[in-house]
Assembly symmetry: C2
Homo-oligomer: 218 residues x 2
Amino acid sequence: MSIVLHNGCLGSDEIVNDTEETQGRSERRDAAENRQRILDAALRLFEHNGVEQVSMNQIATEAKIGPGTLYRRYRNKSELCLDLMKENIIILFENIEAHLTQNRTAPASQRLKGVLILFIRFREKKSQLLTGVEESTTTNRFRSRTQSPLYVELHQLLVGLLDEMTVTGHTPPDSVFKADMLLMALSSDSYSFQKEERGYSSEKFLEQIWLTFNFQDV
Amino acid sequence: MSIVLHNGCLGSDEIVNDTEETQGRSERRDAAENRQRILDAALRLFEHNGVEQVSMNQIATEAKIGPGTLYRRYRNKSELCLDLMKENIIILFENIEAHLTQNRTAPASQRLKGVLILFIRFREKKSQLLTGVEESTTTNRFRSRTQSPLYVELHQLLVGLLDEMTVTGHTPPDSVFKADMLLMALSSDSYSFQKEERGYSSEKFLEQIWLTFNFQDV
DNA sequence: ATAATAAACGGAGACGTCTCCACTTGTCAA
DNA sequence: TTGACAAGTGGAGACGTCTCCGTTTATTAT
């Protein structure tokens, strides 16, 4: 599972690229079959029990394969969820791309807001799976999050927009840093905490982000 | 293990309060002894192997007690780390209190900066243990982080300062939200990521936080 | 077809978290 | 002192992640 970084503007189709890097050789027939079983089993279990509640073990059992086989394909649940979200990720990036070209002449802050809105919508749509993607059993949660191609891609995008927005005259705030903070603020953990514990709606949340990061009006 | 919220300004001594809520009855002798063994064992193992690498199992074995006994006292490693840091937490809050009264008349933004500096120093000093405190095996990492009394206390403090700093005339950014974001930005995950992956020094990190959140100069 | 071979498989097992509960032990009132 | 009993204990065991490695299977060259 890998999302291929592309040169220049977003190429929605190339973003999610399965099979190992640059075609080693096509997938063996039995392997392909098993992968489908895994995906089916996972989806079934996720729907019945919720993503959080389902263990890799259960998935293996449901798919009637050994744990080793499951782990060979997906190092953890996070990777599996990512694979299950391929579709939606592609759509997200297509939407972003469309929005970005449509508003090509608008101020960067406006384009940024649009991107954030699209991302929040995306998050809402498949919140459980996305939380699954961002989760990680192993130590260094943030580290694994930031290594995910989804993160890298979005980060790059944000850096571009933030750079454009930099107010000339002030000390330039490092856009890389700012993008990291922004993505952290938009993470599952943060988002669901604000919604559930602090009682914010999506709109209020976004508004607060905007105020906190002190972006330009509208 | 509980940190008692206090009324009004910081009462450094009351912040860390052991034994269960408001004295149920004093700890049994054998229990007290075991707790000491646990603390000793944990410290020993942490020093030799690093906090991350040590499991609750190992601690129990090293302390020569059953796993059940260990878990009865500390629901997880995080709580154990918190107990191990009591001293340092008290000192942190004492320092903050001192700084706050010393600069009582200075602008809130300056006081805030001081608090952040003290916090970063605190983090540096016991980084491993603090990371341990913020870690959590269970689902909902952020949730458990935010429920920790250390979080609640700091959050309260920040809200106070941020409220003072609110520029009259702008849309008031919710200080509770801002404080959440700030604490998230200062979390172990974030801090160590910026230091190790992005190559920031403590000073640069703090500077970027300042710029990102767009606080007043100095 | 068939042999060679690399990929894929499965499950045992190491190690981890955490719970449950029958048993022991400290404490305190009588 | 002693007995009642809450507090504390320990370890078996349920369940989870993840690895290792001997065996099976698909593919491809012959």
